[in-house]
Each structure stands twice: as C-alpha cells, then as structure tokens.
Subunit: 165 residues, 3 copies
C-alpha cells in the first residue's frame, strides 16, 4: 500500500469508545499523608515568573471514579504529573497514565496536553493505550467540577477514543 498521507474524515461525535470519569486530586500538605494523593515536587510558590505559580510541579497518583463522589470506589488511577505554565493565570500542562485494573477493564491509556483552566472545557490527546485499550488514540475533554484552593480539585474527564483495536 502506498499513500502520500492519510486524510480521513472522522465524526468527532462518534467515538468508538467513550468513558466519563472523575479525577480527584488531593494535595499533600505535610500532615495529610493518609488522604493525599498528589505532592508538589518543586517550586510550591512558583519560580517568581509572574503571579500564577509558574513552574510549580506536582506528581500525582489520583483516584478515578465513575461519578463525582470522592468516596465512590475508584475504577482506575491517574498517575503522572502537571506543572503551572502561565505568568498571568493558572494554567497547567499534564502528562499521565490512566491505569485500569477492575473486572471491567485491564490496561492503560496515556494522555498528554495543555489544561487551559480558564476555558470551560479543554481537550488533551490520548496518545496510546495498552491491554484492553491496546493502541488506542483519541481525545480527553477536561471540565473543572470543583476547586478547593490548593488543597483539592475535581475534574470531569470525558475520554473519547477514535481509534480502537
């Protein structure tokens, strides 16, 4: 097969798989190790460039639930990191893996992209997958559901896969 390049039209409204998930990020503050699932690894107050914690970096192993209740049984973990990267507003860049190990799914989904928090929704890329998500590609749409200062946030992740194998 020879092709100059692949130009296919995909209907963004018709993914081959879709999962709506909730991402809970509870920051470590020194005395909440039992509950915390994320920790600042460098620049808790930012680098001094701008006023929005530019360069603050966080590693997380956050629970993923099927509804927006923090106490629901997690169906997956999100393991990865983010950092703040704007001078004038809180804006972050994420790379992480969704790890499923339940009766329903085993495998992982790898995600990266910009989280422009001021936008009502923002799209990140699903760049690969393993196990039940072998070779998957798609889009994850973030929507902020709750922010409790620097202590906790909850984001709705609408995972839409357009390549399923």
């Amino acid at each position: 097969i020879f092709a100059h390049s692949r130009s296919t039209k995909l209907d963004q409204k018709k993914p081959c798989k879709r999962m709506v998930l909730y991402f809970h990020d509870t920051m470590f503050k020194g005395d909440n190790g039992a509950n915390a699932t994320a920790a600042t690894i460098v620049n808790a107050n930012g680098t001094g460039l701008g006023n929005s914690k530019f360069g603050k970096t966080v590693v997380f192993d956050d629970p993923i639930t099927l509804d927006n209740n923090f106490h629901s049984t997690p169906v997956a973990r999100a393991q990865g990191f983010y950092f703040y990267d704007m001078k004038t507003t809180y804006n972050a860049w994420f790379a992480y893996t969704l790890i499923f190990n339940s009766t329903q799914y085993k495998g992982s989904i790898n995600i990266m992209g910009a989280d422009m928090m001021d936008e009502p929704t923002r799209d990140l890329s699903v760049v690969g997958g393993t196990g039940d998500f072998f070779m998957a590609r798609g889009i994850t749409t973030f929507k902020t559901e709750e922010v409790e200062g620097a202590d906790y946030f909850r984001v709705q992740m609408d995972v839409k896969l357009y390549e399923c194998y």
Copy 2:
C-alpha cells in the same frame, strides 16, 4: 476488518499539512519578568553529572511566530518543558503543546522527543492534536536559528502532519 499490523508506505515529502513556525524562548533571570517566557524550575547549573547542565529543567510558555522576528505577532503559544540530558554536550528532551487561538486556527498539537542540539536538524514526534488538528500525527523538525547564551534561543519548527482528519 482484521489486520496483523499496519504497514503503509508514506511519502515523507508529502505531508497533508505543513506549517513553518518560529519558537522564541526567553529565559527568566530574576529581573526580566515582563519579557521572559521561560523559567528554570530546578538545577540551574545542572546536577553535577558531566559539564553540560545535565538535569537542568525549564518550563516555558513561548510565543510562536510565522517569521523569525521576535516582535511579530504570535500565532500560537508553545507550553511545556525541556531538560538537558547529556554529560558531554548540550542536548535536551522536550514535551509541549502548540496552542493556536487565531482566526486561522483553533486547537492544539502535542509534541515530544529528543532535541539533539548538535545536529543541524532533528525530528520530534507530533503525537496528537485537538480542534482544527483533531487526532493529528506527524513530525516536527527543529533547526536552531539563534542562541544568545542562556538568555534566548530561537528554533525553526517545521511541522509536518501525515495524518489529518
């Protein structure tokens, strides 16, 4: 459809979309917060392994222009990070998002790969896209245009997409 694997021949000279862009990285030095768009987040002088700042890590939110003039109106932002990762020469690893929000394009392109700065050109991977670049994949070729010590560099990014949807 069943396939053992996908082996397609693509003509590298015929992307389905191509954009030549310029990436301007102005480092924060403590007193240039108005102009700086990148900041060292850890190991300004490296970790001590080798003599080429191994481990120095930078977060950036850099303007992207259509020509090599720093003062041209940006058509996109590049948000992400890089770190130096060789003992004997300056060499970096990048992961970032190109964010377009202009009349021409809305959406983002996600990129990662090695920047072997000693090579005249080097290729990184476009691993996904959103919006007008929905599900894109391709190659970004870096070519250094200017380096002003640790203060500023300009790289030409030749973005070639081979999967367009």
Copy 3:
C-alpha cells in the same frame, strides 16, 4: 473517505517490527560521574508522601544494548526521565526517546507510560517515531532484570511496533 471511527482488529502477537533491547540505568552518586548515566534532579528521598520516594525524579541518558551485558556496545541511547509516584510501593512513570545511530538504524522512537514495577511485565506506549521509525506506534513491554539498590537497574524492553510506515 469518511469514517465514524477506526475499529480495526490487530493481532498483538504479530507486530510489523520487534526489537528486544536492554536498558541500563546507572545512578550518579556524586563520585561516579565517569560511569553514571542518570541523575536525580529533585527529591532524592521523596516528598515525604508515603514511604516509597513519591516525587523523586530522575533524568537519564542510558545505554541500550542487544543483550543483557552492561559492557556490550550500545546500539541506542534512551534519553528521558522518570519519577516515583506511589505512596506504598516503588512505581514509576516514564517518558523518553530511544535514539538509534548505528549502521543498522538511524532515527528515534518516543515512549511514555506507567512502569508498575511490582508487575512481572508492564506495557508502555510507543507514541511516535522518526527516521527509520517514521510515524511508528506500538507497545514497549518492560521486564525488570536486575536491581542493585538505588545504584543500578536493568530492564528488558520488548519493543513491538504495530504501525510501520
């Protein structure tokens, strides 16, 4: 061509290219700069969240060999980073580039994903490639071969590409 989404069945046992490689990570301890190829960039002892060095982050430029002998001539370098990201066990997240510059191969492969070290094998995503690996996608399976405390580890990487161009 119009498609709602791409649902293709791939045979995971039949990649279009496969390479079994060995990844040697020798940590910098301050006095072994001649041999070390990796350095902790932040949180050598972790962030204090849990007891498994959560948040410790390492940058590496590690040699890749075709057999498990550390002294074999490298066929590639692995340049990238990993960080520990669990409270209760050693578990890491990786993003890196395999750089080939030999008579056999020139080009690179970009990889990201979770390394759940307690599992006998774990799959990461090959999200792109350049040169001889132009536009590649696939899976890299990690299998730990040896761990010498925090000083050295060797991982077998079974790289299986399912999209070859």
